[in-house]
Each structure stands twice: as structure tokens, then as C-alpha cells.
Amino acid sequence: MENNTDALSENGMTVCEGFSRIPARLENHIVIININEKLPVIVDEIFNGWRHDTYADIVVFVQDQTLWDSNPRWHPKVKSPHRLFVVQGCPGNTDQLKCTGVDTCRTAVILADPSQGRLSDAKGTLIALAIEQVSPDVHTVIEVVSSGHRVHLKGTEVNEAVCMGELTEALLAQNVISPGVLKTVEELMAIHNNAPGFMLKEIPEAMVGMTYREAVLKSIEEGSSFVICGYEKNAREANGMLLIHHPTVNPTGALKDTVLCETDAFVVLDMD
């Protein structure tokens, strides 16, 4: 693979010390924009949970070189054969974004930038808009600091927003109601071999045309290796990826009689 050294330098980007340059063509990789204390764990979990045929490529886009240099604890560890590229630049610049291969990537993750303080959501949202301009179909995940800023994302095509404050509030309330539930949630969210978790699963051919109730009955009786918890209508995106928008989880009476078609998907609990 060739290095895109020229493209990087032409666009005013630098490669962080100790990391190799980005190859000219990256596909199905992950782009992580901004760095914070969550970066090493996220990278580690992505590497650990990678189940595709090839190795994982992750590009980390650092905005603030000083922040990167002054926080060595945030530097992710590369796990062979996976590859990690760390570049410095401005993610608001679409040319620089293209250099990271955001137009061909699998997912773009925008982390909250600690150097921007509590108002980092504004720049994060603007970066999401920039990504949309470059590649409207890319799956975008954004970390939001304030739950109040989540509404701003409704006007964008951001697929998922993870708000730390909101998550903490929800988990605190959950544990007040059901003490000990945190351990279970922790287990559900863990990414390692043989860990349980919620995910989308294509509807098996034999179940297409059945109602949800019939499909679940068949699944239980046949001893499927997953627990069907709900379904998502028209889950398949144009690029073939299954994506959850408005899942129907644990449907009530009438919704159990919904007829499933091949573009739908099951929401299941399954072991990774």
C-alpha cells in the first residue's frame, strides 16, 4: 500500500510521533476524531471485538497536538495485526477529513474534546456536519457532554449520540430501582469473546412471512442460539448495513402479530 504522504502534508496535517502514515486507500476502517480519556479503552475494545475477515484499521484524528503530547495515558496501544494511525489536523477541514478516508470508512466516532470544556458539543456537531458533507452515508457516533445539546443533533444525520451525563443519570436511577443491576449492565456492554449483548440479526429465511409471535415460538422451540427481544422494520440501509432507528423492543399484544419481511431485522440478545 502506498502512503498518502503528499496528501497529508499538502493539507497541513502531520503524523503523530511513533505512528505510521495513512495508506492511500483505506476501506471499512474506523475514524476517531478528537482524543480524551476514553480513547485507549475504545480502541482496545474495537480491536478486541473485531470479527471481520481483515484486520482493523483505526485512524485517530487529533486536533490539539499539545493535548496529545501531554497525556500519554490516553495513547492507545496497537495490537498486531491491527493498525492504528494517528494524525493531527483540523477535522472541520473537509480536505483533511478526506485524507483520513472518512468517505470510505465504516464508522466515524466523534469524541468530546476536553480542551473545549463543557461547550465541546458545538464543535462536535459541526464536525459531524462536515463528515456528512464528505460522506452522507457514513455511520456516525458522537459523544455529547450535555444531554440538553442532544436536540441539536436532530437536525443532522448523526446516527448515534452517546451522552455520558445522560447515561450516568439513567444508570444511577436504574440501580436505585434494582440494586445490583449495574453488574448486569456492565456485562451486557462488555466486548469480549462470549459476552452477551444486544444486536441486530437478519431474519432467517424460514421466518420471513411469519408473525413476530410465530417467529419467537419457532426460535424457542428450535433452541436458537439467541433470544429474540424485538424487531426493527426496514433495518437494511442502502449500503447493506443493518441499522437500528426505532426498534420495537418486547412488543405488546397487537405488535406481536406484525408480519416480518426480509428487510426487517430481529433485535436479539446473543453471545458475541
Binding site: 449492565v185 415460538l217 448495513m241 437500528i244 426498534p247 418486547n250
Partner: protein, 529 residues
């Protein structure tokens, strides 16, 4: 017939909070009302024997109700032959017999039977049966607790205590003054004084006390001295009253949009104590309140708790603030932390110079103060921690759960990368609303004990009262604590369920099909249902 028997059984059994229907509660209240009415009739008839005929139809109606209730209980009894000889059944029978004799006497002119009417007081013994149930009845106790706290809070907010003292003082002065002036004036003024007539004296003294009008002048010198003292006391009373009302209005205006302060004598019990405040407070309170359907009070303890904005109704009336350092023992005592149902420790909002270590150290200090107390029961505690490295220290405090937002955030972002859209599912599961599903832990229902997990899954699929999906089973091991067995594992599906195990299910609300021995809050009255 089976449905009718089931319905009757549910109706007649005492309301015990969770699992009891509204009809069940209404039936209990109705019977209590009938018993009290019946006893009141006995008292009225005793003092006004002429009213016996007047109340006869009421008495006959009540007797019919009690007879029907007695027959229903007998019909539903598991051992019908033994039922009439049980203690409570005998009480029921003895309470009923006098009324029946009374009716029979009126119909067949057996006057002698009327002497048995006093037996109807035995009916009061039935009250003991219901009073005993208050200990276990979530709904009735909750109503009692709510009423008590609301009345205390109302009194505290409207300064009922000082106003009551002032009122009693004014009444005492009024009675004393009226009598004093009457004695003074009637003996020495040949009934020329406006205070010479006893009841007239009461009227005139209240005018003097409240308005200071001087046209009601005593005639004697001693009377004038006394009325002068009364005038001074009147000024003091009216001045104090005016001051109290103004102060009340000012305080009300100043705290119009602020959270209510905890009344000193509110005696909160089974409340949720939140130690510390940060930006997550409001949403945590809202979520827990939504989950419990407004069943409990919240107490926020912090040095700046009095500056908190009031929450929107109806939460406004259920949230109180206590000003003080939550790591101090006397503050925690005032918060009645040992009587709390849950404790939540929020990490304080970072000041300009505070690091995450400072914030966590403060939260851990508060946790230690709240948990290392000499109390008989364990109170489930949830603590918010900012830096996950502090968990290494915190984990040594047993029975405390820690929420580290960063840790869960990292995992959720990683999950989103791996399984696109999964954050939507977690968002639904973690948010308490009427339309969203949550994760609940329930005891294995009686009918599922001894069945396989697969059979339990089929049971829940066919259960039409509420949508429930079985996710996992929690098994408690004596040596290594609890273990979660996920239903997607082949080995788990063939496992037989035991009564000691817990089911982890997805449901819109806390499922009512559990055995009722434990509810969301371990059998206390803070249950959601």
C-alpha cells in the same frame, strides 16, 4: 365459576400493596367504614333510644353486608369445616349475631334479644384485623406517610406552630380578661358597666383586644387598670400576628421557585436520600420518580441544597432539601438516613480548582459517612464516581454500587461501532417511561418453579397481561456471590428453575406475576404497584 371464586378471593383478601387491586383496597375501606358506622349507631342508640326505629333500615343493610362478607369468607376458606372455629371467624360471628338478634327481635317481637345489642361492639375487634394489616399494606401505609409528611410540610411552610401558640395565647387572654373584668365590674358598679354582664363582657373584651376601640370603658378604677393592660396585650398580639403574616409572605415570595426545605419534624421514612448535588440531580429524581410512579419522597442533602430550584409539579411536593455537609453525622441523623430506602451519592460539580480526584474523594468521604454507621439493616447505596481508577479503593466498601460514567460510555461507544444503532436499545432500556421497557429482576413465579428455562420462555411469550421477555437467570452461590446465566446459552435453556433464583426480564412495568413476597423495595411500601 373459577373466575368468580378468584375474583371474590382477590376482593375479600386484605390489600397488601403490591399485587392488590384498587377494588381490593376500596372493599377494605368500605368494610372499615361499615364497621365504624355500625359502632357509631350503637352509641347513638344508647343515648337516643328513640332513634332505634329511625336507624333500623341502616342497621339491617349493614347486617346484610357483614353476613354476605362472612359467607364469602367461609366459602373461600381452604378448610370450610374448621373456618367457623378460627379466632377471627368467631370474632366475625359474635359481631354479627347481636345485629341478627336485633332484627329478629324487631320482626318477631323478641324484645329480650335487644339486650344483646352491646355485643355489636365486638365488631370493633374486626378493626384489629385491619389495623394489623396496615403494617403490611403498602398502599394504606403510603397514604398515612404521605399525609403525615404533607401536613408537617404545610405546617412548617405556613408557620402553623407559632401561629397556633399565638392563637392559644390570644384565646387565653380573651377568656381571662373577660372573666377578670366581669368580676371587677359586676361587683362594684351596680351593673352600669359594659362588662357587668357575663357574656357581654366576652364580646367587649375582644373588641378591646383586637381593635382598641375605647367606647366600652370600665367604670371602676381597677377595671380601667385592667383594661389598659388588656389594650397593651392586644397591641402585642395584633403586632405579632401582623409580623408573622408579613414574614410568611416574604418567605413565600423568596422561596417561590426554590425547593422546599425539610420540615424538622417530618419524620421521613423509606425515603430516597440524595447526598450532594450536581447537574444530574434533576434527571435522576425524575427517573426514579417515574419508575416508582410517585410513591416516595426525596431528600437532597447538601450545603447549597437551599438554593436548588423547585421541580415541576407533582414532583415539587415530594422533594425536600436539607442544608448541611452530608459527611457530618448530625446532618445525616437529621436526614434520617438510617430510615431511608435508598441512598444516592452524587459527585459534586467540579469547581475551578478541583480535579476529578478531589471530586471523587469528596464523594467517597460522604459514602463512608453514610455507610459506615451502626445500623441494623443494609440500605442499598449507589455512588457516582468520576475517575474509574478510584474504583480500586472504593470496591472495598461492600454492598455499594458505583456508577462510573466514563467506563460505561467507553463501552457503549465501542458497542455502537460494533453493532450500529445499539445505543437506541440501551437508551430505551435505561429510561423509565410508560412506553419504554426496562430491565427488572423478579423472583421465579410459583408456577414456574421446577420448569425449564425454555418452558418459562414459552410461558412469557403466551402471557397476555403484559409483554415480558426472559433474558437471564440470576443464581446466588454461597461461595462466589451471584452469577448471571444468559438465556441465549444452550446449557441454560434446559436448566430447571428453582425458587431461590431470580429472573431478569424485559418489561414495561414491574411484572405483577412474581410471588409478592418481595417487591421493588424488598417488601416495603415504596413499591411501584
Amino acid at each position: 365459576m373459577a373466575h368468580f371464586k378468584k375474583f371474590l378471593s382477590q376482593l375479600v383478601e386484605p390489600a397488601e400493596g403490591q399485587g392488590s387491586s384498587l377494588a381490593n383496597l376500596i372493599f377494605d375501606i368500605f368494610i372499615i367504614f361499615c364497621i365504624l358506622l355500625s359502632c357509631t349507631l350503637v352509641v347513638i342508640e344508647f343515648f337516643h333510644p328513640d332513634s332505634v326505629d329511625y336507624f333500623f333500615p341502616v342497621e339491617a343493610g349493614l347486617t346484610a353486608i357483614f353476613t354476605a362478607e362472612y359467607i364469602a369468607r367461609w366459602y373461600l376458606a381452604p378448610h370450610r369445616l374448621r373456618y367457623p372455629f378460627q379466632w377471627l371467624s368467631l370474632v366475625d360471628l359474635f359481631a354479627l349475631l347481636p345485629s341478627i338478634l336485633l332484627i329478629v327481635s324487631d320482626v318477631f317481637f323478641v324484645r329480650i334479644a335487644r339486650t344483646f345489642r352491646v355485643f355489636r361492639l365486638l365488631r370493633l375487634l374486626r378493626l384489629m384485623r385491619l389495623v394489623r394489616l396496615i403494617r403490611f399494606s403498602g398502599l394504606i401505609y403510603r397514604f398515612y406517610l404521605y399525609t403525615r409528611v404533607r401536613i408537617t410540610a404545610f405546617g412548617y411552610r405556613h408557620r402553623a406552630r407559632p401561629l397556633a401558640v399565638l392563637f392559644l395565647f390570644a384565646v387565653a387572654v380573651w377568656i381571662f380578661g373577660a372573666n377578670l373584668l366581669y368580676i371587677t365590674e359586676s361587683g362594684s358598679t351596680d351593673n352600669l358597666s359594659p362588662f357587668a354582664e357575663y357574656w357581654e363582657s366576652y364580646w367587649n373584651i375582644i373588641i378591646v383586644l383586637m381593635s382598641g376601640i375605647e367606647d366600652k370603658e370600665p367604670v371602676s378604677v381597677l377595671g380601667r387598670i385592667e383594661i389598659s393592660l388588656m389594650l397593651i396585650l392586644g397591641i402585642v398580639i395584633v403586632g405579632y400576628l401582623t409580623g408573622e403574616i408579613v414574614s410568611l409572605l416574604v418567605q413565600k415570595w423568596q422561596r417561590a421557585n426554590l425547593v422546599a426545605l425539610m420540615p424538622p419534624r417530618s419524620n421521613l421514612k423509606n425515603h430516597i436520600v440524595i447526598l450532594g448535588i450536581n447537574e444530574r440531580l434533576t434527571n435522576v429524581v425524575k427517573q426514579v420518580d417515574a419508575a416508582l410512579e410517585g410513591a416516595c419522597f426525596f431528600l437532597i442533602v447538601d450545603e447549597k441544597a437551599d438554593t436548588l430550584m423547585a421541580m415541576a409539579p407533582p414532583l415539587r411536593q415530594k422533594v425536600f432539601a436539607l442544608v448541611g455537609n452530608p459527611s457530618e453525622k448530625n446532618v445525616l441523623d437529621m436526614a434520617r438516613i438510617d430510615d431511608a430506602a435508598r441512598i444516592v451519592v452524587l459527585s459534586g460539580t467540579a469547581g475551578d480548582t478541583e480535579t476529578s480526584q478531589d471530586i471523587d474523594n469528596r464523594a467517597l468521604t460522604v459514602t463512608l459517612a453514610a455507610c459506615l454507621r451502626d445500623r441494623e439493616r443494609h440500605i442499598p447505596t449507589t455512588v457516582e464516581i468520576v475517575d474509574k481508577s478510584n474504583l480500586n479503593y472504593a470496591k472495598h466498601l461492600l454492598n455499594v454500587d458505583y456508577v462510573v460514567g466514563q467506563q460505561f460510555g467507553e463501552r457503549l461507544i465501542s458497542q455502537c461501532v460494533r453493532h450500529p444503532g445499539v445505543s437506541e436499545i440501551y437508551h430505551e432500556l435505561f429510561t423509565f417511561t410508560d412506553e419504554s421497557n426496562e430491565i427488572y429482576f423478579i423472583q421465579v413465579p410459583k408456577k414456574l418453579i421446577g420448569k425449564t428455562v425454555k418452558e418459562a420462555q414459552l410461558f412469557f411469550l403466551q402471557y397476555e397481561k403484559a409483554p415480558i421477555t426472559l433474558l437471564a437467570i440470576q443464581v446466588i452461590h454461597e461461595d462466589c456471590g451471584s452469577q448471571t446465566l444468559w438465556c441465549c446459552q444452550e446449557s441454560v435453556r434446559q436448566r430447571f428453575l428453582e425458587g431461590t433464583e431470580t429472573l431478569m426480564v424485559l418489561a414495561l412495568k414491574y411484572p405483577k406475576l412474581s410471588r409478592g413476597e418481595q417487591d421493588l423495595f424488598d417488601g416495603t411500601y415504596l413499591a411501584r404497584h
